[in-house]
Subunit: 359 residues, 2 copies
């Protein structure tokens, strides 16, 4: 039986760990960091054609209103004319986004929504689409499906999903567990039934609204009110700012998935990355014989094991190794690859200094 799935691309993140490329005015998902398409475009491109008996409908994109024109341009460049763009006056985390998307989708009978963070990279697109197809079998029966990423190492930076009994081609969710310490992460890896929680969800619109009305009724009503009172101009919806401000901020994981009895997990081993740091981009990038990933206007002499990017500026280095060097026309970042998370310290300092033009 053909299943109708409406993709929902969540584009509300700021991606400050990829400063200086990622900026408030153009966060990482709107940048072409992993190929010729932006990550938002990649996210939508993955669900632009039918996958088995799954048909994808016109996507819903939820984003901050300041990114309206950038996103419209990127959709147009990709040849996507039929879409709904929901603009938030400010972020309220993922639960209100899901409520609004489900509400919009619920006008289509039997519609399912596929919630996709717009800033992830997936190498094996066929594998991804195959997992979606498997998940749809469970979602059509009323399950709230999350996709569990097969861990490739004892990662401490993600929450995990513990899979329980089998159901269809997936498992019931036994528990969502917090980011572990290194020892615990190794135990999860060894156990084999733990998956990374990537925040990719699939469910019927009516199923998720029913669960949200049970587990986070206030939030769901507030989100619906902001949508109903929003201004619609053709395919763009501006949520009502006052009503959306009044909506509680919460993650969909916490507000719904950790509480519902309908949670199921479908494993996914598709070369997934949340592109969470410059080191992650090094990990997934094409390396030369010196372990160097280079993009843009770059000249390296006697260097090894580097991620180097020059956007509109020449980057030259001699005799260094293990570094990230990223330069834009107004900013340069240099740090060891293994300290890629510490770009936070730089961003925080810029914030403290009021250097908004660089953020």
């Amino acid at each position: 039986m053909t299943k109708h799935i409406i993709p929902v691309a969540m584009s509300g993140g700021v991606g400050s760990r990829l400063w200086p490329m990622s900026r408030r005015s153009k966060p990482k998902q709107m940048q072409a960091l992993t190929g010729s398409l932006t990550m938002l475009q990649d996210t939508l491109d993955r669900v632009s054609s039918a996958a088995g008996d799954v048909k994808f409908g016109a996507p819903i994109i939820v984003a901050n209103q300041q990114h309206s024109s950038v996103i419209a341009k990127q959709l147009s460049d990709l040849g996507i004319a039929d879409y709904t763009l929901v603009l938030e006056p400010r972020g309220r985390n993922t639960a209100p986004v899901v409520a609004i998307a489900a509400e919009l989708a619920s006008t289509t009978p039997d519609a399912m929504i596929l919630v996709l963070p717009a800033d992830h990279h997936i190498k094996n697109v066929d594998g991804f689409r195959s997992a979606i197809s498997k998940g749809a079998e469970l979602a059509v029966e009323g399950k709230l499906v999350t996709f569990g990423i097969q861990p490739s190492g004892p990662e401490t930076g993600f929450g995990y999903i513990r899979a329980g009994d089998s159901v269809g081609e997936g498992h019931l969710v036994d528990a969502f567990v917090e980011k572990p310490d290194a020892t615990t992460a190794q135990q999860y890896l060894d156990a084999g039934n733990y998956f990374w929680n990537a925040g990719i969800f699939l469910f019927r619109a009516d199923s998720v609204l029913k669960e949200m009305n049970t587990h986070c009724q206030t939030l769901t009503s507030a989100a619906r009110a902001a949508l109903d009172a929003g201004e619609r101009d053709r395919q763009v919806i501006n949520l009502d700012p006052t009503l959306f401000d009044a909506c509680p901020s919460d993650s969909f994981d916490y507000a719904v998935m950790e509480k519902t009895a309908q949670a199921a997990v479908v494993p996914m081993d598709v070369g997934w990355s949340d592109v969470g740091s410059w080191n992650a981009l090094w990990g997934m990038g094409p390396k030369d014989e010196h372990g160097i990933v280079a993009a843009g206007d770059v000249s390296l002499v006697d260097c090894q094991d580097m991620y180097v990017r020059g956007e509109g500026i020449r980057v030259a280095a001699v005799g260094v190794s293990g570094l990230v060097i990223v330069a834009t026309k107004d900013s340069v970042l240099v740090l060891p690859k293994e300290r890629a998370q510490d770009v936070k310290a730089i961003v925080e300092r810029l914030e403290a200094e009021g250097r908004d033009e660089l953020l």
Copy 2:
């Protein structure tokens, strides 16, 4: 007896070892790398007021013609209205410069000229002026005086001057010796009568012209011809391009100093540097408690032992040490301090790529 000295600032160098700050269009001597004045301005400022019985006349500046307006602006900013600017169509090394300056100065009776590379830094200006005053006592008697820098270590990057018998407050020059290897440099340091050859000279105009006519007559005549046929517009002289092209290219050291019997050396221990690399700038710069010399728009977290400069661009680094990071609006350079000489490799690559806009 009052001595009249005409300072001659030689500003023909390209300073490619300080790329990306130093550019063909604005070499290092026209940049404020060591303080608020450019090195050319500093060079002229050091000889702008009388030193003991030495009176300094209006300076002569010799430079490439493409730098005419930059230099005029920097002289004006320093309040120097009375000067002669000699413009070369292209460089012919230092001997023709000295011949031309001496020729210009020789119209003033008993004038001496003080030849100064425009891209050196001197910490102890009083000491410098005192050495000049001592040198003038020898120059007035017809000696060709070079100033020998007291070595601060077994440096292999400079030629050395071996001092012989005392004469006045200096010594006769026993020999000019080539750049030594490390062992020899240490021997020179231990011996005590070896000095770095900094290319700073003082002599009477008539004395040096006499020696040049003896030791490099062709070059001297050719330089004079290019001057005589040059176009003079108020205080700017454009050397005749065809005649100057025909002038042999040679260093004043080689063409004259190594051959004359009149060479004398006056020691100078004044915190001299030829600002020959980014590491040299680190060496002379004011360091914070982490050994960091920072200039411009710089933000460092957990870094040590660095030279960092951001000119019109923000430079941010975390957790690195021992590096030079220099960024301008179009280029970034990263390399270990001890490899500062290797910026050559980058400049050569830019040349090979025809990236003239970055050179």
